[in-house]
Subunit: 319 residues, 2 copies
């Protein structure tokens, strides 16, 4: 594999090079790190939008509308869908993906599904690698779609510049039941399928929750994605964030948005590297487990011993 | 807090002490580690069964039947349900839990839900702490229920002595679509709601997949949990594994089952500790993020630098 060649094709926006680079990341190929080092200097201008929400709220139709908008503005769009399809969950999301096929013939749209399983804690690191690849390939807007279930989604969202939470009427009680977690992550709350009864109540609920937040003021907007209603207002909110990001004026806060995302990426990648190191085959886990089963060691002490066998903690004050 | 007193009440099987101990773990209270050290020597005889499967396959009714069986044998049972209820998923599982209320008046059954969110990679470590607490309190059978979505469930399952995967007819295609992942984890495949059309086809599918496995021979059983049908056969499979676990004869393989679970616990706890260390507040992430945004550092190098700032890798060959 000629990483240099792949990198330069990638940076020209070549679709096959993009696909190949993402496959390297997905396979955790050692070449992926070399490639990312090569494209590193080209990073920086893509706007990363996280879209999350429960199954069935119409995230894909919503994303479809956003893709349409950005394409009309001749922007290059990437969609990375974290697909929880697995033996244990069923393929509903795969069905969603098929609807997006409208865009697959469009050379300015790159769509990729990534499995949510099998990453051993490294999913968000892989997503941030894919974001870097799409960014380097000249993508203007990268939409990362996750289904709002479990910790890994919250981790992924941390690498985005902005987050849209897609909800729908008829989930009011659940939303009410756990305000804090919900209001923590969104810059924008989309009440999709707003032609269903209960939409206004949900908006009122969300607005009253938003009022209690300190230092943040997320938008709450009604949308009917399949009927193309309410998308203009959504796009206005998103474009305001994107223009901050692209602004060179320090007072616009674009640097702070970038820093937040980069901090998330660094942390997730460091976690993945720590994981990989712990997972290295060795006799130490075996020997420790034997001692625990023989009641000669607690699990806590065994875990400490395993960590010590892999790393020596830095002394405080020393770098 | 008098940890010594709590530990001795716990080891007498006092329910309030159990609840208090689990709360310590859930709050990541430093006392939890001290408590676990104290109860460490008492560990060892509980049989840990993981039950997983997609939403709606009737895991809770199935677990209800198992609880009934073990209670008839006068065994003390603990059920730990990992509850993915969150603002983004809805409360279906909470509804499931209510059905289990039948058992809540029974002093020999301890039921506890644990939220699946907010653990920052430490959920399975927390579950293995809870297993240790229930074990030390004299619980004979600990059932850990997870919904089969996402990596964290697979991690949790790793600490169990046996795993039952609950499926139902009408999911055949999805099951087929990803054989490998499904067949990796189960010791027992339960085709629940077996009175629905398609049950036999699902059994045939699962059996043919099982035939391809090397060195493992999972059971496939039809069950109708709500009608109490097929439970006897399930229980026979589980009791065979439990008697291996409790056997002192080395040829029964009980020690190997224990070691597998303990290795899982050690690894998950070590991961959690590594995570916690990475998450410690420091200026290093801030400074690294600044350099990445200024194109002076790649994210990969920043992650390496962060890891190095927290740990010095052990030299090979040195312990």
């Amino acid at each position: 594999l000629d990483t240099g060649n792949l990198a330069s094709n990638l940076m020209r926006g070549d679709r096959r090079a993009i696909a190949k680079a993402i496959t390297l990341v997905e396979n955790d190929d050692p070449e992926a790190a070399r490639l990312l080092r090569k494209i590193g200097p080209k990073l920086g201008d893509a706007f990363v939008l996280g879209v999350t929400g429960p199954p069935g709220t119409g995230k894909s139709s919503f994303i479809d509308r956003l893709v349409e908008y950005y394409r009309k503005k001749a922007l290059v769009v990437g969609v990375v869908a974290i697909d929880p399809t697995s033996p244990l969950t069923g393929g509903a999301l795969l069905g969603d993906r098929v609807r997006m096929v409208d865009h697959t013939m469009d050379r300015g749209v790159f769509i990729r599904s990534m499995a949510s399983r099998g990453w051993q804690g490294g999913l968000s690191a892989a997503v941030s690698d894919v974001i870097q690849i799409l960014d380097a390939a000249g993508t203007d807007v990268i939409i990362v779609e996750t289904v709002g279930i479990g910790q890994s989604d919250t981790d992924i969202i941390r690498v985005a510049h902005a987050v849209a939470v897609v909800l729908m009427p008829g989930m009011g009680d659940d939303v009410q039941a756990s305000k804090a977690g919900l209001m923590e992550i969104g810059d924008l709350y989309v009440v999709n399928k707003a032609d269903l009864p209960g939409a206004d109540e949900l908006v009122v609920d969300l607005l009253s929750m938003a009022r209690d937040l300190k230092g943040r003021d997320p938008s709450v907007l009604k949308v009917c994605a399949t009927k193309r209603e309410g998308i203009d207002a959504v796009v206005m909110v998103l474009e305001r964030i994107r223009s901050k990001l692209l602004s060179s004026s320090p007072s616009d806060g674009g640097r702070e948005i970038r820093l937040r995302s980069v901090r998330g990426m660094i942390n997730e990648l460091a976690k993945k590297k720590a994981f990989a190191r712990l997972g290295e085959k060795s006799n130490s886990v075996e020997a420790l487990a034997e001692r625990v089963v023989d009641h000669r060691l607690t699990i806590g002490d065994a875990a400490d011993a395993l960590l010590k066998a892999r790393w020596r903690p830095r002394r405080a004050g020393k770098r």
